[in-house]
């Protein structure tokens, strides 16, 4: 019944050269993602094919052909060059999902500069630490986010240009701010593409860890090889497909599979830049006749919550293939989607650091609801014993998910942090930070994180970052942050705090603290609950025992508390 090759057929004699040959890339030669996603598609004879259908706030609709995105990338690249942006410079994209975000991504890469996409809901503190770490030279943003950039600008000596793509009057611009209106700019037909090669840096995504500041994950242009092939095989994109990746390009899914994967294959994709509602999403699928849909468990659970009846109000028969990423996809969601859409969401597992899908359910593969699937061909994975770091050979025993380095889209380093990068490898294995078991058929079953990082709605939040920010609130004496279970987002941030003398707990203070973090860091990092405590659990040496609070929230065994400080 399936027209797909089997897992064994795809794995047999697998080599990444399959992608190299299809992309006509010769090792040692030039490779530029911006060119591959636009110019090459035009050269192959599809300049008039739609690359992007866009729908934004207030019913704004736009569409772009592959020739349009080629020209736009050229125009933006040329403009940046005119400002003096060079290859290797970091250019931050701090925008909602408007067309300029996607088109600037191509333009920046075409001139050999490094794209630094940041989630537009980040608060000024989150923005600052990432721009400072990257030494970013230019930020491309919108008027609605300008106030956050202005607030931190004076502390960022490397930031020379703030480029605003909409709505600001020239008379309102401050020093170092420039206005760039793509639609009013003369299209640049020919641009000298920077001669990037396999190891030339391309994208710098930031991710959160348990301790310390967020880490800048450096990717290179050669990442295209695995992003292209995984898009083709796992997302099963084919000529004629209409593809919708619901991820924001502020996160890695939104660039690897929301820009690079589909456009390098010459696939038409859709972008809906509006808040979530089941009605709006189904209407969007119906209207654009979406065939392949890549989303996240949080969104799927929200759709489940909206019920089955609403699904019947829309014609969703165009859907051919559904996939999911960001956090474990629970078996109920797989079964539900199979029932209401007639096909299951297939889970995929990967990370900012891996750059492309590592463990997955292939179209045509047997789906085991609740399983992450098997390693993508060419990926050597295992679970390691947490003590010896040796591969576990027993089926079903839990261990640390690890991969043998060497796939094309693997991160090349953490920006300005080679020590942290080295820490990710043990005995020649890359440690993902997640735990799983493997069954007798090679399917991985997710267990949880191996650290304190909170995965909320598919986005990683560092408890350290939130704890540090909490201490800047005038009422907070001490803070500890952990996760608590959540029906939709799997887990959400919860803060435990003690108050400074003179402050009294109250519902209004709780709300004030929540909003303080939301504006400073991001809505994702905002504690969804704040618990006031007389004292936090600590070791005798004074270290806060976060795991005691975590165990309490999740109803787990607290474990060894022999080091817990006594009253």
């Amino acid at each position: 019944m399936t027209d797909h090759p089997t897992y064994n057929e795809l794995s047999r004699d697998f080599s990444w050269s399959i992608a190299e040959q299809e992309l006509e890339y010769k090792p040692g030669g030039r490779i530029n993602i911006g060119w591959y996603c636009s110019d090459r598609i035009c050269l192959k004879g599809d300049p008039d094919k739609i690359a992007l259908y866009y729908e934004g706030f207030g019913g704004v609709e736009k569409k772009y052909t592959f020739n349009d995105i080629r020209l736009a990338g050229n125009t933006i690249g040329s403009y940046l060059r005119g400002l003096g942006i060079n290859d290797g410079d970091r250019v931050c994209l701090f925008m909602d999902r408007i067309p300029e975000l996607y088109l600037s991504f191509l333009g920046i890469l075409k001139i050999g500069a490094i794209v630094q996409p940041l989630f537009s809901a980040f608060g000024d503190e989150s923005l600052f630490v990432r721009l400072e770490n990257a030494g970013t030279r230019a930020v491309i943003t919108q008027k609605k986010h300008l106030s956050k950039v202005r607030k931190i600008r004076a502390q960022l000596p490397n930031l020379e240009y703030v480029i605003i793509v909409d709505g600001v009057k020239a008379s309102d611009l401050e020093k170092g701010e420039v206005l760039f209106n793509l639609e009013k700019s003369e299209p640049v037909e020919n641009l000298d593409i920077h001669p990037t090669t396999a190891e030339s840096p391309s994208v710098l995504h930031y991710t959160s860890g348990t301790t310390g500041q967020p880490k800048g994950v450096k990717h290179v242009h050669y990442s295209l090889i695995s992003q292209y092939l995984t898009t083709k095989w796992v997302l099963d994109l084919r000529d004629g497909d209409i593809y919708w990746c619901t991820a924001d390009p502020g996160w890695v899914t939104g660039t690897s599979y929301g820009i690079i994967g589909p456009w390098s294959l010459g696939i038409t994709q859709c972008v809906l830049d509006s808040g979530f509602s089941a009605q709006a999403w189904y209407k969007f699928i119906e209207k654009h006749r979406v065939t392949v849909w890549y989303s996240a468990p949080t969104a799927i659970r929200s759709l489940m919550k909206a019920g089955d009846e609403i699904v019947k109000s829309f014609d969703l028969s165009s859907l051919r293939h559904l996939a999911s990423v960001g956090e474990p996809l629970n078996s109920e969601a797989v079964i539900w989607s199979d029932r209401v859409f007639g096909k299951p969401f297939l889970d995929t597992f990967w990370q900012t650091e891996t750059g492309s899908i590592m463990i997955t359910n292939f179209p045509g593969m047997k789906v085991k609801p609740g399983s992450m699937g098997r390693t993508f061909p060419g990926i050597t994975g295992t679970v390691l014993d947490p003590v010896t770091y040796d591969p576990i050979t027993e089926n079903g025993r839990a261990g640390l998910i690890a991969f043998k380095p060497g796939w094309p889209s693997m991160m090349r380093t953490y920006w300005n942090n080679p020590e942290k990068y080295k820490d990710k490898f043990v005995n020649g294995w890359y440690l993902s930070g997640d735990r799983a078991s493997i069954d007798n058929e090679g399917y991985y079953w997710f267990i949880g994180r191996d650290d304190d990082v909170i995965n909320t709605g598919g986005h990683l939040v560092s408890p350290f970052e939130v704890e540090s920010a909490l201490l800047e609130h005038p009422a907070v004496g001490e803070s500890a942050v952990t996760s608590k279970p959540d029906e939709i987002n799997m887990e959400v941030v919860k803060a435990f705090i003690t108050l400074k003398p003179g402050f009294t707990q109250s519902p209004d203070l709780e709300l004030d603290i929540m909003n303080f973090i939301r504006k400073k860091l991001s809505p994702l990092a905002m504690p969804q609950a704040v618990e006031f405590m007389d004292k936090l659990p600590k070791t005798r040496s004074g270290k806060i025992m976060r795991r005691v609070l975590h165990a309490r929230e999740w109803g787990e065994e607290i474990g060894d508390i022999s080091t817990l400080e006594n009253d």
Partner: protein, 83 residues
Amino acid sequence: MTLNEMKDLVLKYVIKEYIDDDDVTITYETPLISSGYVDSFSMVSLLVFLENKFKIKIPPSKATPEAFDSVNSIVALVNQYLK
């Protein structure tokens, strides 16, 4: 508190807390969630505000993106739980 006073209170809070751009005009009818002015995570702080301010408890099942999508719909929801 009259209905219009309630609407004004919620509107002022939304503008103060969630709208960065001074040029954006928010009315009682402006879509908040579906237009992206308030995201689903931030909705929780809006819920806490409503519960604190009006001394009510809104069940999680009723705190949906649709119910929070405008000042009008929010106040209609709050009204159901006012004693």
